[in-house]
Symmetry: C2
Subunit: 193 residues, 2 copies
DNA sequence: GTCTATAATTCGATAGAC
DNA sequence: GTCTATCGAATTATAGAC
């Protein structure tokens, strides 16, 4: 417990990732130094390079894993477009409220990605948007929705829902279930025929 | 024209502000150096300090001026809540599409403000949100709107509208007037009784 | 696997010449 | 009002001891 040196590969790896997540979310990628991350982990700066080739990879892997998990964690269920849209909205809010730091980084640090990394993240993000756009499109065709422009409505709904992370605080006036329900009600009405 | 030295106080001051605006928006406050700004302006780094006491003031004054202008540029008009809400939405979109860089900075660089500067900007932002919340509250009381939670609806609408800056590109598929109209239609329905 | 030490750059900000 | 030069500190990343 008191030793300052030794082998901790299994625990230090995740700790580096967690420290980077926390500090990037709080201060921004560019404002955080490798020494700050090392201090948070409890090692010297040089030791970080056993777990990441460089600072950029630390950011990219956080964002890529987040987007891939977002995509694999939820699929559009069978059913009517209205039910699919409700499932999307509720899942989006729940997932984003559960991971405020990852969500924040994924939206704020795009410009700090090197071009090839940026392209990867953008492709994943586009896949997520396409799921919602597909739901809206099928609802439009079936007459369940009245959406003047599918792409605009997709971006509008995602922006509206993701905004929950800017104001919602645990233990506040509204419970999570309330928040989910109220957002869903607004989305439902906004695309209603 | 070819001289590299001399007096340019009247032109250099605004150029410093414009260069900071452009570079902060593109790369982020923390990632931009005073030397980069100086290069963009066409002076040496030392000369910047004739126009700003430090880098932080450059950021703060951009954000403060933006928020103050947003507040003074538009007031809630007399009329029914529905008309007020339409005016708010259309103005918000128009104003934000006209100043994408300032809007981006105002939303992204809050965490790079020193505490006292942050407090000033937050107060201004809150004033803007309160205008919309007031409109929704009066509409709720008059029966024009059905809003389950005024604060949530305020944040949802602002997030949805501000999101236009993430995807809209001049000369694209939709004209500005179309974008305004479609967003307004979604907002109107989302709070409809 | 972690440490210490350091190379090579870059940073914000200032001093003083012109 | 601008430039050059520079201070002092911080940066990413690496080398080599243990």
């Amino acid at each position: 417990m008191a030793r300052k040196q030794g082998s901790h590969a299994e625990t230090t790896g995740p700790k580096v990732r967690d420290a980077a997540l926390k500090l990037f979310a709080r201060h921004g990628f560019a404002a955080v130094s490798m020494r700050q991350i090392a201090k948070e982990v409890g090692v010297q700066a040089g030791a970080l390079y056993l777990y990441t080739p460089d600072k950029q990879s630390l950011l990219f892997e956080l964002m890529r894993d987040h987007m891939e998990h977002l995509l694999s964690h939820w699929q559009v269920p069978d059913g009517a477009p209205l039910e699919q849209l409700e499932a999307f909205c509720r899942h989006h809010i729940r997932y984003h409220l559960d991971r405020p730091e990852l969500v924040f980084i994924a939206y704020m640090e795009l410009r700090n990605l090197e071009p090839e990394n940026f392209a990867v993240i953008e492709t994943l993000r586009r896949q997520y948007e396409d799921r919602l756009q597909g739901i809206l499109q099928r609802g439009q065709q079936s007459g369940a929705f009245a959406v003047a422009d599918g792409k605009l409505a997709t971006m509008a709904i995602i922006a509206m829902l993701t905004g929950v992370n800017t104001w919602y605080r645990e233990g506040g006036r509204l419970a999570r279930a309330d928040v989910e329900g109220i957002y869903w009600d607004m989305v439902r009405k906004s695309v209603a025929a």
